[in-house]
């Protein structure tokens, strides 16, 4: 990455963000890269080296006028795009409601996907329903695509009597086996290498399944990231490994996570086809993921994707980013807002308008509010009820061993 800024270069080099509070970030205006810049290689014939320019460049489909252009245009039907738009709007409205719940003490903690709604939604829509999803904490949107009820999701976030993980995990650490959505874990990055194992099992069994996983730019410093790429490179299972480069890992800017070059380019050294894609461009995300799915489904192994985006909101409900970055930095992000961009595209095509959009927003609002009320019937954090204390002792093992049974009796609940 030629734009890497450093704070000092002696006695060692220390990466730094482009600016700090009180300063203005110059992202250089609109993207220089255009949708027509990069061709779409044949997934059945492509080598890692064939993707070198894709790994250093930026794959786009939606141009600055909101038109779909170039070889990566997936040419989706408008009804599919409207569905994607609805999922993204639903996620944003859902997130807003959850933050309100957190602020009023109805749940303990929350993490929004603000500005990154397209990532899990477009990518999951490009997959098939039998594919495994191994998310980090900013991909809950995948569950909307797979049809999970919002009541069930809110019950988990609260940790109430209907929480399917029985009040054992912090909010947003969703598990949903029915949707092949594997449990989110707080120690970041562990899912990435596990995802390679999930995909190896699919390959072993001869099942037409792909496993997709995500981690952040900060997490790409973990050993698990490199285990995943190396095992994926050597065993070539059907796995799609995404680095969501949203610029910030809490307060650690991505300039501290890598010394240079793009995150995507790391994949080339592992001999894995690697793409860098505009993470706020629904169509580009869909298209690149579909490419990876086609390649994996044909038995040709892994794809590595850098999803280039910006974390518009705080890391979590416990974070205040205005302390470490300009509060309005997001406004100048060249990728803009993923929801607005897809909406603009649909309006340009003549398949959408502000009236329809407002009606849809109203419908979702009502659905989220209704789900929220329904979920709270099973308890909220402030007033309970919570799952019974006996759930502390169950499912540690397949059956409760004597020492845990004794401790349960000691608690007396």
């Amino acid at each position: 990455m030629t734009d890497r800024k450093t704070l000092i270069t002696s006695p060692y080099t220390l990466g730094a963000p482009p600016s700090r509070p009180g300063e203005t970030t110059d992202f250089g205006g609109k993207w220089k890269e255009q949708p027509e810049d990069l061709g779409r290689p044949d997934p059945a014939k492509c080598s890692a080296q064939d993707t070198a320019s894709h790994a250093s460049g930026l794959i786009r489909v939606l141009n600055d006028k909101g038109e779909a252009k170039g070889e990566w245009n997936p040419k989706l039907k408008s009804e599919t795009l409207i569905e994607g738009l609805e999922f993204m709007m639903r996620l944003r409205i859902f997130d807003d409601r959850m933050i309100k719940m957190q602020r009023t003490g109805k749940l303990s903690f929350y993490m929004r996907s603000l500005g990154e709604e397209a990532v899990a939604i477009a990518q999951t829509m490009a997959l098939q329903e039998q594919d495994w999803i191994f998310p980090s904490y900013r991909q809950p949107g995948a569950q909307f695509v797979r049809g999970r009820s919002m009541v069930s999701m809110i019950c988990h976030c609260i940790g109430n009597t209907e929480d399917n993980v029985k009040g054992r995990q912090m909010p947003v650490h969703y598990t949903w086996k029915e949707g092949r959505f594997i449990s989110i874990s707080s120690p970041v990055g562990t899912q990435f290498s596990q995802a390679v194992g999930v995909a190896m099992a699919s390959a072993y069994k001869g099942d037409d399944e792909v496993c997709i996983s995500w981690l952040g730019d900060g997490t790409s410093a973990q050993g698990d990231y490199h285990y995943a790429l190396n095992f994926a490179s050597t065993f070539k299972p059907p796995v799609i490994l995404n680095v969501v480069n949203n610029q910030w890992a809490i307060s650690t800017h991505r300039n501290l996570a890598t010394g240079g070059r793009t995150f995507a380019e790391r994949g080339l050294a592992y001999d894995i086809p690697s793409f860098r894609v505009d993470g706020n461009d629904f169509l580009a995300l869909y298209s690149v993921t579909k490419w990876a799915r086609d390649r994996a489904g044909a038995g040709l192994g892994p794809t590595h994707i850098e999803v280039y985006t910006y974390r518009t909101g705080p890391h979590s409900s416990s974070d205040d980013p205005s302390v470490y970055r300009p509060a309005d930095e997001f406004a100048s992000w060249p990728g803009g807002d993923p929801i607005e961009r897809l909406k603009e595209h649909l309006i340009n095509k003549g398949d959408w308008d502000d009236k329809k959009n407002a009606a849809l927003e109203k419908k979702i609002d009502a659905e989220v509010m209704s789900a929220y009320k329904e979920a709270c019937k099973f308890g909220d954090l402030a007033s309970g009820p919570y799952p019974p204390a006996s759930t502390i002792f169950t499912e540690v093992y397949e059956t409760v061993p004597w020492h845990i049974q004794e401790q349960r009796e000691e608690l007396g609940k």
Partner: protein, 336 residues
Amino acid sequence: MTKMNMIASLNSALRCQLEKDPNIVIFGEDIGYFGGVFRVTDGLQKDFGAHRVFDAPLAEGGIAAIAMGMSLNGLRPVAEIQFADYIFPAYDQIVNEIAKIRHRSGGEFSAPLTIRTPAGGGIKGGHHHSQSPESQFTHTPGLKVVYCSNPYNAKGLLTSAIESNDPVIFFEPKRCYRGPFYGDPHDVPTWNDHPDGEVPDEYYSIPLEQARIVREGEACTVIAWGTMVHVSEQAIKNSGIDCELIDLQTLLPWDRDTVVNSIKKTGRCVIVHEAPKTSGFGAEMSASIQERCFYHLEAPIRRVTGWDTPFPHTTEWDYMPSPERIEEAIKKTQEE
């Protein structure tokens, strides 16, 4: 029945499992074509195919993660960590992920996998080829921790470990791979002359969570696992005292009933392990025993363990519990 050393019996257990269950896959460092640095997987790749028995890149953290991912998706992997001393890059995956997934997913997912790893001293392996880190794992809810001691129980216990729907850390006392060890490094017996070197070729299992009474006695209960079972046996013989010797076999969850019943009978207890004393599993047992047997105890519970130091190289015989140290501890329990 065939005469087998522990390497052959472990190999036989893996072979039976590969034949029985198509979802078993085995991998680890050097375990494929070469058959493992201790030869435990010898011939398995040739007989069952490289898709089922294969070499992994040298990354223990990756090996554990791959095993977990496979187990989430219906397989029953058996991973080898070449030496227990090398398991720590996998510690996060084992402790935070493998052990916890059943609980944290509300029972929706589980990780039925086995991690085999040679442990313990006595092979001049120095600090990083000799440690016995069982208590690093007995402190982790969600894991089962097993420690075999002879060819017969190695095969039976490994079979149960692989068939367990909970994740198992399976320790193999590497000093005893080719023969029992009675505490004299110059005496190198084989399993040929030992009754537990008689191993059925066919499938069998030994239940987890059950200890084994190696020798019945009235005067003192000696508890050990792994190599220390044999060293303790020698110490008991040398002492001439009528001790009951218990091979714990599974450390988590451990067989408290067998232990407690024995101590209620003998009133005295010595716990022997190779690992350092502080926070070793003997400390947990000792505390638990006094809760249950306080009024039956005639003498303080004694622990004979490795020292609270790194494991040495050339001075390892002064580090590991010797028959002499164990005998002295047994005698002290008789004096009080």
